[in-house]
Amino acid sequence: MNLATANASPPATQFVTLTINGQQRHLEVAPWTTLLDLLREYLDLTGTKKGCDHGQCGACTVLLDSKRVNSCLVLAVAKDGSQVTTIEGLAAPGSELHPMQQAFVDCDAFQCGYCTPGQICSAVGMIREGHAETADDIRELMSGNLCRCGAYPNIVAAIEKAMDATRARLSV
């Protein structure tokens, strides 16, 4: 890779259409814009957090076409036509919280709260995947979401509490 090529003038932006929290958005983005930066900087959806920005902490977890992913490692331009659900889209504005959100409140499953949107989106994605039954399963399958405050015991309790209600919501 020679530097002359690397330093060539920036390639043109591209258009993508994404359905974000049920709303179709037509966006013009540079190829190197991550889904995380698109959400936070272009759309003011700042519920999704930037933690490590390297796919190691899980704070940026969103549901992309119903699957949980690290949005910091997704290039937005590659996801034309996809559906994205962020923490803002789990429950309609003004309506009741999503059962997983309510369980996090009820179980005091956070301290500083920075990892919480990622934890909640990840937990909803995990329940949709259908491989978690026990607390051990939850601990293993949520290991991609770090909580530096160490609220893990209450996070596991919240997820166990919300599991049935979340499942019921997925099936409708």
């Binding site: 890779m1 090529t5 690397a6 060539a8 920036p10 390639p11 591209q14 540079a30 190829p31 190197w32 991550t34 920005d53 390297h54 796919g55 899980g58 977890t61 699957k67 949980r68 992913v69 690290n70 910091c72 490692l73 997704v74 290039l75 331009v77 590659a78 990840s122 994605g125 995990m126 995947e129 491989h131 978690a132 039954e133 051990d136 399963d137 601990r139 293993e140 399958l141 949520m142 290991s143 991609g144 979401n145």
Partner: protein
Amino acid sequence: MINFAYTRATGIADAIKEKVEANGGGQFLAGGTNLVDLLKENVARPARLIDINRLPLAAVEPMSGGGLRLGALVTNADTAYHPEVQRRYPMLSRAILAGASAQLRNMATNGGNLLQRTRCYYFYDVATPCNKRQPGSGCPAIRGQNRVCGVLGTSAQCIATHPSDMCVALAALEAVVRVSGPQGERSIPIAEFHTLPSNTPHIENTLSPDELITSIDLPESPYAAHSVYTKVRDRASYAFALVSVAAGLELDGDTIKSTRLALGGVAHKPWRLPAAEALLTGKPATKESFLPVAEALFAGAQGYEHNAFKIELGKRAVVRALTLAAKGTAAIHDVNGQTADA
């Protein structure tokens, strides 16, 4: 992150054509879990990303002759939870689930897993020399922080490891990598896919520059009933292997008919030694039989300041993996790839 162009390939031939046209400045984009990170670190500096995610390579299909074909774009998660993979190749399912996090496994693809780069700290840190990143610049790992580095097949230029769990199981299963390129299609046995560092640590596999991985083919396996993936790491989940072992036994009663063993975390490629496996043929499945195999696998191993422990740890992990495999796959696994204590 440098600025780069982005194009979306419409077919396999189109993807290869675009790669050729990029003249060494192009990289294929699949799941992006490693590549996008390397872009952010300025380790990867492509002029153009060629997005292959819309290519028709996302199926798991039975092969005529009895094997199973894993499309290059099937995600690691979909592969690990595929009923046929779980039933016929439980070692592979467990290896995948022992790696990364659920989010990363939802994104990462099978082809990309083969091509992931080492996690050696110096490779990632562009402020330091690294023969793999910048040939001829030196290897600080040899005298530096080398806990994550290898002890087998290392060279004076590079002691990095291949970080994959999946590939360790693929090595034990003798998978075949199918590729497509400007010269047509070819198949590469997994043992010949990854390379040792020698004097060219920047070369990590035998893919030609413009070839695209299209599938990973698994031959029929007699090891499903007695296979295990044992991974030893610094924390219980979401960490790269210090040492890992994929082990499969084919048993006739208590007598071993054949064995497959591959090691992860110890070399620039999944480490396999068929001559060591052959030591077990006709032997009873006991610790006494397993110990010489562990010794043979680590013959010639060279430890460095912070990783010499891997030699003894690795030998013990081999014995443990074989002991667990002898008990039977069903006895030792839960659905999430954890190994119950023996």
